[in-house]
């Protein structure tokens, strides 16, 4: 292997990055390229080298500046955006790039302003996006969608939340670092290249990165738990079927997308999710039923999630549901074609489209009765 990749420090962690590159060169790996999160090194003779990071306000440094640095012994290694990396052999009396901290300070001041503005713009864009989504679907429904999303894909949500916190933490830390660096240089003190205390930051960052990796692995594991069966081949499950409602007939397909009837199973960290889509051609006509069943880890969690099912019902609004009392069910709500019920830690959301003349005395009672029997 003649090349090697390594995670580098944040863009404004100047001294830590310089020390990393110098240490890699001492171990026979010279910096070749700096990417967004990783730096690429190429195999070389171990050598004591100095690395210095320069920032510019433009993407590229002027040619005469590069020539001047080269004449002084500083070779340009690579650039990424406004960050430029130079190297020189150690111990040859090559002058430092910056000898007057006060003259270096204004560059960092400009960078800090730029960094804070981009951080604020990002936060404003995120806030506006959240407001836009809430305005489109109404705050209640948006909250309900988020709750269902969190329960249904907990590992993925935790991954995004941890990643978001990590990015915000990194951005704020960089702003603070730039401010401290600017103040130090402005006092006339050169950059502190002695190493310094970075352990708490490394632990915190490492913990967040590890958490991200664990949540992602859990999500992949949960995806691999997905199963799908034809209704007659499905194992015992908490979904009700049209047959249980007395709507027997020939299995059919979804008239819109031609999908076959099926039963699926998924899981997340907080629940198991069963779903059944059934299409049947009965003597009285076409019947279909969609059952979403959430098996949570406790009754309280199920009771907390139930309002989200009412809010996110496809056909009726939350206010369109009528509360019912039904033996065997802790909570039951019905609308014209939709039913929501809870028994212990199990929640159901059922949509039933039955043909006229199917002979139901009370459709809601039939559905609730079948659910209670589960």
């Amino acid at each position: 292997m003649n090349t090697r990749l390594r995670f580098h420090h944040g863009e404004y962690d100047i001294c830590a990055n310089e020390a990393l590159y110098a240490s890699m060169a001492a171990n026979g790996w010279q910096l070749a390229r700096r990417g967004a999160y990783l730096s690429r090194f190429k195999r070389a003779e171990p050598e004591q080298r100095l690395y210095r990071i320069e920032y510019s306000t433009e993407a590229a440094l002027p040619e005469d500046q590069l020539e001047l640095y080269a004449e002084c012994g500083w070779a340009h290694v690579c650039s990424r955006g406004i960050l430029h990396i130079f190297t020189a052999p150690s111990g040859r009396g090559i002058p430092e790039i910056h000898t007057d901290p006060k003259l270096q300070a204004p560059i960092l001041k400009r960078l800090r302003r730029r960094h804070i503005i981009s951080l604020l713009v990002s936060l404003i864009v995120i806030a506006l996006s959240v407001l836009f989504i809430a305005a489109l679907s109404g705050p209640g429904e948006a909250r309900a969608e988020l709750a269902l999303g969190f329960y249904g894909a907990t590992a993925l949500c935790c991954f995004y939340i941890t990643l978001f916190i990590l990015l915000i933490y990194s951005a704020i830390r960089e702003s603070v670092q730039l401010t401290l660096l600017y103040r130090r240089l402005n006092r006339g003190e050169p950059l502190d290249r002695s190493g310094g205390r970075r352990l708490p930051h490394r632990i915190l960052r490492g913990a967040m990165l590890s958490a991200c990796a664990v949540f992602l692995l859990l999500f992949v594991f949960q995806l691999s738990c997905h199963e799908k069966w034809a209704p007659d081949a499905a194992p015992e499950n908490p979904c009700i079927s049209l047959t249980e409602l007395g709507l027997a007939g020939k299995q059919s397909t979804n008239p819109v997308n031609n999908d076959d009837s099926c039963v699926t199973y998924d899981r997340s960290l907080l629940l198991e999710y069963w779903s059944s889509d059934e299409y049947v051609e009965t003597e009285d006509g076409f019947a279909s039923m969609y059952v979403h069943c959430y098996v949570l880890k406790g009754e309280d969690a199920a009771a907390r999630l139930l309002p989200a099912l009412l809010e996110t019902a496809i056909l009726a609004s939350a206010e369109g549901f009528e509360e019912k009392s039904f033996p065997g069910l802790d909570e039951a709500y019905s609308a014209e074609l939709e039913y929501v019920a809870r028994s212990g830690s199990t929640l159901w959301y059922v949509t039933l489209l039955a043909p006229e003349g199917a002979g139901f005395a009370d459709k809601a009672e039939s559905v609730f009765s079948a659910l209670a029997a589960k």
């Binding site: 500046q65 004449e71 790039i97 910056h98 003259l103």
Partner: protein, 103 residues
Amino acid sequence: MSQQPMTEAMYYILLALLEPSHGYGLMQHIREISGGRMEIGPGTLYGVLTRMKAEGLIVQDAEQSRRKTYHITDAGRDALAEEYRRIKNMLRDGAVLEREVEE
């Protein structure tokens, strides 16, 4: 004409540019005229040259070769003379300290 006191780097760069020079030569010349006391790194030098160009104290040659040569302007000479006078006056005013320093 420069109103504010110059930084040490600016003063030595203008002083060295009484003879036109390119960047690297300028660094060596500054080291010579300061008796090795003044070392200016290339990043600092480039920053000061850029600032002084913008202030009209120096100009840069049209590209004759790969290296660009810097020249001091009349405004640069005036600013340097003004700074020299300021330093000289300060030295004169502080002459009273001469005996203390020697002791």
